[in-house]
């Protein structure tokens, strides 16, 4: 679409408000496309938090010390909280949590493909915090300034909590790297497995990304996928060097001219396949969410039925 073409007066006014940095609130006028894009983006984000509880939840009962167990519990609990804040933001757009979750369980909604990879060792808890939450923070900080008020406010809360997640992950990696040779090998193996999926987390390259340009105009997205990915690489390479770990990319090198690290080609074929459902854990993750939802159904009904009984008794 050519910029400015076929916009109604309302849409033009809407764009002017966005350009002026005015936040859009739930009851304000918004174009249908804006609403739909937000619903899609925020609910994907919410699902990612909820599905993201699973790979790490996997290791809570096996955490190697009581302190690590407490941290892991608090972190995975935060993710449930983040999902909750984000589902609430979707509700302000007129879609209930129940509906949003149904889309996920029916396989109609997407979530971050990285959570379809397995957590095989304790070092994966470190790698996820360090790399996955590190990537997430880079993607999320700009969203704190996005044009939709409830989304921006939820993100402010999430980003505040997310910093602890990344630090605890880095600390796990650091402890492993200073530990026995077996532990250091465990850390390197985790980096090898999580590095490329972390780069994919920032989404397809700008040339391929279908929604980018309009989302940037609407200030739902503030930087392009490639910009965010570059920022992640630049931030993470020195951290890996500090840990004494090798990033599994032979093409990775500092480019003095650009002032950035160059890095190798991402396997987008793998990325699209994982999104399509062919990742190592897609089925397990979805099945776990469906099981929790179905097994929780009688609990939710019982609580609702009890509240209704009590309200009736009170009224009588």
């Amino acid at each position: 679409m050519v910029e400015g073409a076929q916009l109604s007066p309302e849409e033009i006014q809407f764009q002017e408000r966005i350009d002026a940095g005015i936040k859009i609130e739930p009851k304000d006028y918004m174009p249908e496309g804006y609403r739909k894009t937000l619903i899609r983006q925020i609910s994907q984000h919410a699902h990612s938090e909820i599905v993201g509880q699973l790979p790490e939840g996997n290791w809570i009962t096996r955490a190697p010390t009581l302190k690590r167990k407490a941290i892991a519990l608090a972190k995975v609990q935060d993710e449930a909280g983040h999902g909750l804040y984000l589902y609430s933001a979707v509700e302000t757009l007129g879609v209930t949590r129940e509906q949003t979750i149904e889309d996920l369980l029916a396989g109609k909604a997407k979530y971050s493909s990285i959570f379809n990879y397995p957590t095989l060792t304790w070092a994966d808890m470190g790698a996820i915090g360090w790399l996955v939450d590190g990537s997430a923070i880079i993607n999320q900080i700009p969203i704190c300034r996005c044009s939709y008020g409830p989304y921006a406010r939820a993100m402010v809360r999430i980003c505040k909590e997310e910093t602890f997640h990344m630090r605890q992950g880095f600390e796990i990696m650091m402890t492993l790297c200073r530990g026995t040779p077996a532990q250091k090998a465990m850390a390197q193996d985790a980096l090898n497995r999580w590095w490329w999926p972390s780069l994919m987390m920032h989404g397809p390259s700008d040339a391929e990304s279908t929604h980018s340009a309009q989302s940037i105009r609407w200030k739902i997205k503030l930087f392009s996928n490639d910009e965010l990915r570059q920022k992640f690489v630049d931030q993470t390479v020195p951290q890996a060097e500090y840990l004494g770990l090798k990033i599994p990319d032979p093409d990775l090198k500092w480019n003095a001219e650009r002032g950035h690290y160059d890095f190798g080609k991402i396997d987008w074929d793998e990325f699209y396949n994982v999104i399509k459902g062919n990742g190592p854990c897609n089925r397990e993750r979805l099945r776990a969410r469906i099981a929790a939802h179905e097994e929780g159904s009688w609990v939710r009904s019982a609580a609702a039925a009890h509240a209704e009984k009590r309200a009736k008794r009170k009224a009588a």
């Binding site: 609130e25 009851k27 304000d28 006028y29 608090a74 609990q77 935060d78 909280g81 909750l84 804040y85 609430s88 509700e91 209930t96 949590r97 129940e98 406010r153 939820a154 809360r157 909590e161 159904s297 939710r300 009904s301 609580a303 609702a304 039925a305 009890h306 509240a307 209704e308 009590r310 309200a311």
Partner: protein
């Protein structure tokens, strides 16, 4: 009936400020909304008091009325202290 109603959560922080809207959640009744709010929104010592209000019970101004509601205040600059000139010699007013 499986859907729990939506509640808006207001928290008063330790610093004596008024209750502030922090977000929302689902709960079958008010008692559980308060408990859930404690678990969801005060995990990091954010508050000392919680209010919960069913979202559907909140009456809100409509965005269409923004101009008649809020424009008039714009023209009454004399309500702000900066409107008045205070001579240099007279400090602390």
């Amino acid at each position: 009936m499986n859907d729990w109603p939506l509640w808006e959560i207001f928290i008063r922080s330790q610093h004596g400020l008024a209750h502030k809207h922090v977000g929302s959640l689902h709960a079958p009744d008010a008692e559980m909304a308060v408990k859930n709010a404690r678990d969801v929104y005060t995990r990091r010592n954010e508050g000392v008091s919680i209010w919960v209000v069913k979202s559907c019970d909140i009456a809100a101004s409509s965005p269409g009325e923004k101009e008649p509601l809020f424009e008039p205040a714009n023209s009454k600059v004399y309500r702000h202290p900066g409107f008045y000139e205070v001579p240099e010699e007279v400090k602390n007013m």
